[in-house]
């Protein structure tokens, strides 16, 4: 097992992890604020990919079409998210927790079936944006440009979210709401408006992840299913509700997944879900453990 291979797998793991991070951040922030585990988060990831596909093919052969798709598709998903929050989730805030989980579960089913209805059961794909096709030669190994770009881009997005949450006044309200939402409400801030914002932001990030994954993996109606379960693991390992935890957890799961392929491929998923159980049992606040 050469050093080149290990480095390459490490890099691979970081790419996988970066996508998990983007999805898990939304999942985690929504949990922190709304106290909801969103089972529809995988479905909106798929929706993001399909929106991006439609936009890219609408605009046509122009070389910049993919970039417009990546910029606009998440917004579309965020609007859908806002609609879901206002029309459905809002009615459920004062009932038992279990009902909210099951409601998002049903929403996921509906979104998936709608995707098949609109775009058909056959998967869709786009070609790589020409600027990022090809590979970079690192001497010991080569690596696709697009995947390198993906990691850098997602890192920037995460930094942006961090700045938003920690440095803006709106972010302060979000942070306060995560700690104690009744208190925020008492301060005369319309907590429901914050909920809508946070939910559509979280969902939009999953949509962005879908749009970014499109040139690599294509779009399939059920693409959100497996990734959702892995993202549950990510947020649990990192700590539910924490941005930094989601980043840490995402990278850990991504790297473990690709490294296990070298060591013991059959055990990958067993190890990942066992880790999830162990973390909940021993460190329920996750490895980051700030909350």
């Amino acid at each position: 097992m050469g050093a080149g291979l290990i480095l390459m797998q490490l890099l691979n793991g970081i790419v996988l992890g970066a996508i998990y991070v983007l999805i898990a951040v939304g999942l985690s922030v929504v949990f922190g604020m709304l106290n909801i585990i969103n089972f529809a988060h995988g479905a909106v990831y798929a929706l993001g990919a399909y929106f991006a596909f439609s936009l890219a093919s609408l605009i046509g052969a122009w070389t910049g079409s993919f970039w417009i798709a990546v910029a606009v598709a998440p917004l579309g998903v965020a609007v859908v998210g806002a609609g879901i929050e206002v029309s459905l989730l809002r009615r459920m805030y004062d009932v038992v927790h279990e009902y909210q989980i099951l409601l998002t579960f049903a929403i996921a089913l509906v979104i998936q079936e709608l995707i098949i209805l609109i775009w058909g059961p056959i998967g869709k794909s786009v070609s790589m944006p020409p600027q990022l096709a090809g590979v970079i030669d690192f001497g010991m190994f080569t690596f696709p440009k697009y995947r390198i770009f993906l990691v850098v881009f997602i890192a920037l997005v995460c930094m942006g979210i961090w700045l938003f949450i920690h440095k803006t006044s709106y972010g302060a309200i979000v942070r306060a709401g995560t700690d104690n939402r009744d208190m925020v409400n008492c301060l005369g801030i319309n907590i429901y408006r914050v909920f809508t914002l946070v939910f559509s932001l979280g969902v939009g990030l999953a949509g962005l992840a879908g749009a970014l994954a499109l040139p690599m993996r294509g779009a399939q109606p059920l693409m959100g299913d497996t990734i959702l379960l892995l993202c549950f693991v990510v947020v649990v390992i990192g700590g539910l509700g924490s941005l930094e935890g989601a980043i840490l957890g995402g990278l850990i799961v991504g790297v473990v997944e690709s490294m296990m392929i070298l060591l013991w491929p059959q055990g990958t998923m067993i190890a990942i879900f066992a880790a999830m159980a162990i973390v909940i049992l021993t460190r329920p606040r996750g490895l980051w453990g700030l909350r």
Partner: protein
């Protein structure tokens, strides 16, 4: 408590009336063929293909066999063995369906084959795993496609001979009976010819992320990388292999492809130079294939693919056998099919009596580059073709009664 009793009574009455009203008429004077395919889930595109293929076979006989109308019943297996087995059993029992055709995955076909034996209904399929007409063969199951044994014999063997310098082979395998079967046959040939099997990776059916396997194959300095998956999985794998530049460093073989469908979906940019094995290719000098080509050009303005040709052939053979047997009795139809020689889609084909496996040709194709493509469907050249099936002595098939 009384209100609950009344409630139950009310529910019961309502349920009974609703059900009686919606009860479908029992099939009596019709010949029904149950077409098993995926109509939902990641392989749903194949379901649409099987509709077109089998419908054409019915049109061909004017919608009638022995004067009885022919009806197709499409059954969604969701590519899950449990679902397929249950729905097949249900169709055989409640609707009296006696003929079944199709199946996409070997795992599903094995489960259906078990039901076919139990219920005494005929099942005509084209899946890969050797066991279907090998260790798990039975009286009621027929197969058109060459099994994985033949697919590997007809692809890996000629390529080893063509490229004597390619000594390092790497395989990527889907983790179910079909993949295992392909892999076993590959390893047998690697050992026979003394080429080195430098690595293998298993992935679940419907996997979308192949990067880790591709990097491993690159690090193993493989001369040949063999993708033993099919359909969506292969398409994703090849695209990602391209992204990583694997296609430039190693030769790639997909021993079991759906031919034209895959080549079109992946596109000539990604496919160029890749070797594909296939059960059916439109560009051959075979009368029945030419007829099918013409029909497809007329109907759909394109050429047929394996995923349409196989369902066509299944339905055609079942109808033909019923016609020849002059009865719809399953046992008599089986008698007719056993040992039958006919003009098929790959030239003269023959159904072996001892294991119900068809002797037919398998094609090794090489995808053309974009500039060499002339006209529709001209995506690949046929490198070689031939028949490889196990002889009765080698076969593991021991048919009961």
């Amino acid at each position: 408590m009384k209100k609950n009793l009344k409630a139950l009574l009310a529910v019961g009455v309502v349920a009974i009336t609703v059900i009686f009203l919606t009860m479908p008429a029992m099939a009596s004077e019709k010949v029904v063929i149950g077409v098993l395919s995926a109509f939902s889930g990641p392989y749903a595109s194949l379901g649409e293909d099987s509709v077109r293929g089998s419908q054409y076979a019915v049109e061909e006989v004017g919608g009638k066999v022995l004067g009885k109308p022919v009806e197709l019943m499409f059954i969604d297996t969701e590519v899950k063995p449990g679902v397929a087995a249950r729905k097949t059993r249900e169709a055989a029992e409640s609707k009296g369906v006696k003929y079944f055709a199709g199946c996409i995955s070997s795992g599903v076909a094995l489960a259906v084959s078990q039901v076919a034996r139990e219920k005494g209904v005929l099942f005509y399929t084209s899946v890969g795993a050797d066991a279907v007409t090998g260790s798990k063969c039975n009286k009621y199951t027929f197969r058109w496609s060459l099994p994985t044994y033949g697919a590997i014999q007809q692809t890996v063997k000629p390529l080893i001979k063509m490229y004597p310098d390619a000594k390092r082979w790497y395989t990527i395998t889907p983790d179910y009976v079909f993949g295992h079967s392909l892999l076993k046959n590959c390893i047998d040939i690697f050992n026979e010819f003394g080429v080195k099997h430098v690595g293998n990776d298993m992935h679940p059916l419907g996997h979308t992320e192949f990067s880790s396997f591709i990097t491993k194959a690159m690090a193993a300095k493989a001369d040949f990388v063999v993708f033993l998956n099919f359909g969506k999985d292969t398409i994703n794998a090849i695209k990602q292999a391209n992204n990583f530049g694997l296609t430039k460093r190693a030769k790639i073989l997909v021993p079991w492809s759906s031919g034209l469908r895959d080549l079109q979906e992946i596109g000539p940019d990604f496919c160029e130079g890749i070797y594909f094995g296939c059960q059916f290719w439109h560009d051959v000098d075979v009368p029945l294939t030419k007829k099918l080509n013409e029909a497809w050009m007329k109907k759909y303005k394109r050429l047929p693919s394996y995923t349409e040709a196989a369902p066509y052939l299944h339905a055609r053979m079942i109808l033909k056998a019923i016609e020849m047997a002059k009865t719809t009795d399953v046992k008599s139809v089986i008698k007719v099919l056993e040992g039958l020689k006919y003009e098929g889609l790959t030239g003269e084909e023959e159904i072996q009596e001892f294991d119900h496996q068809t002797r037919k040709k398998y094609y090794l194709l090489q995808a053309k580059s974009k500039k060499d493509i002339k006209g529709p469907g001209d995506y690949a050249t046929v490198i070689s073709s031939g028949v490889s099936v196990k002889s009765q002595a080698e076969s593991e098939c021991r048919m009961e009664d």
